[in-house]
Subunit: 207 residues, 4 copies
């Protein structure tokens, strides 16, 4: 089974999610809609959009890297991937709700819950690919001890609780997780580069 | 005629259908929109969305497998594929109606009707491909006696009738069909694997 | 310049146009929204949708065939293609207006106007490709005397006029054009097949 | 890292942005919605849509050319590309606002601001690619002194200021920038063609 169509489908879904999210930014209506003051109500929606855009960018980048290092796909991987896309598809809804409520406690907690489910779905997808690839695969070595993937769910859980006490803390934690991940995942790139280099060395030895 | 663009177009349409379906989940409006109670009205919409997401995932997976085992495409196949996508494109509408009416009889029946048409369109597509591929093709052997494809329309018809008596029965039947199909279609994978193995054996014999 | 990205982009835009068109079919609102009677107002929207779906399917199929027989792309072709997609992108708007007004004269005429512009844009695209390919190219021979492409704009013009007298005549003409085109364009396929056969014969002669 | 998925993802996002922009053209509602007079209010929305469509077409074309001349992609390039798509994703919002306010000062200025950010994001993307490709790369030579890319931001800044004095001046400037760019960027094509020709000559010399 080839991975090309899985990549194309995932790209399509993530591209659409990112783009329809902006539909939550409604054009100010009414006679005073040509006033910049009309934008005032939109700042929270804009901030929410920017945050979710970064999150979806991170997922796309990591998905890209993960599948680049993948050689085989199974039926289970297809479903694990659809499961991840399901939670990501709920991001526009929670983003819009968070923004329009001006960061009220419940929407803030709900945002964290969807992000937590997406993080767990990503972890399931990674492991279903590793089960096909085997423990000695390039990807298995590339992932190593994935401290980011272990820390993020913990921070989401803390943020969900904090949202009911002080929503700003939850917001700060979501920002923190985004920053942790925005630093591009050079591990897979590095191990891939090492793998290519080693393969070149070994093939040189045998000649 | 190459199948690549047919796959890409179908992936695009299914990706968009899946993603715009979530637009039916409207952000709670009004001053009390930061209340989790505001989500109460959304549970039926969410359940409907999750069910339809699984259905569209099944169609995507099976479409993926079917075209993987396909070598030739005709003009008739292009139209049969567009016909399938037409019925799938109505899924967001019936899903939203079913959810917003809290599973009322008529929307429940309408959901089954669209699913029945989609199932028949898939059967037409499969047969228009088989007509090009021939009875001895890999795909023809892979499909075999397709009991799932025979049972599903029957269950849809029963569900459409049951919706007017007790909508919950229709809902249970839709769930049952989804469960039957979620078990990935390993038949095509197996026959393909057998086909490759046999080809390898025969080419070995001739050397 | 390679044609792959042009095909992919066009597929994407047409896939999205087809799919967002269904968003015009709004879920019946209000307490009586679980009544099939609520669907009564939607029949015109549904009919409009089905007609436009067939039109977009025709455009996708013909676009597919045309580019399959194309070997070179220029900067002018990119813009001619974007011009075609511009008019196609207006189809959801006129479709929705036609349906929601229950086939009133002005929307019926406007539908024909957009279809006329799209047909002319397709003709411009074809000719900008032919200018690159040359008069002896496979595509030039495949197109031949394109009576469908010559008849359609004429029928659109008649329909636009007829819409103000009797909208049903315009509707019948739109249906007629769709039927003329739905018969797949086997000419390009045939000429391509002939071309391959002749090339095979000639290469056999030279051996 | 391969550039194919970057191209596909960018194509997807731009295709969706272009297509959802037309959703701002709302079907005229009410009993008089079958009147062409109902379209009167839409002319500004239509003009805004046509202008933004051309802008997005320019971005797609230039993005296409730029990546065609690119051989290597880094993690930084992925993020620079996402950054460009972020600003482009805001185009439907400012386009809708500009049109619905009938070209009021503030929306006109806001349109220029988003365009300015997109132009700067494109410049950052180009330079992050050039950093990977090196100063002697085909792309570096193809870009040369990019007077269009230097003039456009200047015109946007003037337009933003002019919008508050006389919005029509801002509109004329946006049109001017579009016209400057619509002339296809033949420089990259020419340098690529030269590069191929020179490579052919040199390989002929060495034989």
């Amino acid at each position: 089974m080839n991975k090309g169509r899985l990549e194309a489908f995932s790209d399509g879904v993530i591209a659409i999610i990112i783009t329809i999210m902006v539909l939550e930014m409604k054009v100010p209506a009414g006679p005073e809609n040509h006033d910049v003051g009309a934008l005032h109500d939109l700042w929270a929606v804009f901030l929410s959009y920017a945050l979710s855009y970064v999150y979806l960018g991170i997922y796309w980048n990591n998905h890209h890297h993960m599948l680049h290092a993948t050689r085989q796909i199974s039926g289970g991987v297809l479903w694990a991937n659809l499961h991840l896309l399901f939670w990501l598809s709920l991001v526009p809804f929670v983003t819009g709700w968070m923004g329009e409520s001006h960061f009220a406690p419940q929407p803030m907690a709900m945002y964290g819950a969807v992000m937590l489910m997406a993080a767990m779905a990503y972890w399931i997808l990674l492991n279903s690919i590793l089960r096909v690839e085997g423990p000695d695969s390039l990807l298995a070595r590339a992932v190593g001890d994935d401290w980011k993937a272990k820390l993020s769910p913990l921070l989401y859980v803390v943020a969900i609780g904090a949202a009911f006490v002080k929503p700003a803390i939850a917001g700060a934690l979501y920002l923190l997780v985004a920053l942790i991940w925005v630093i591009p995942d050079r591990r897979i790139e590095r191990v891939l580069a090492d793998g290519h280099a080693r393969a070149a060395t070994e093939s040189a030895k045998h000649q």
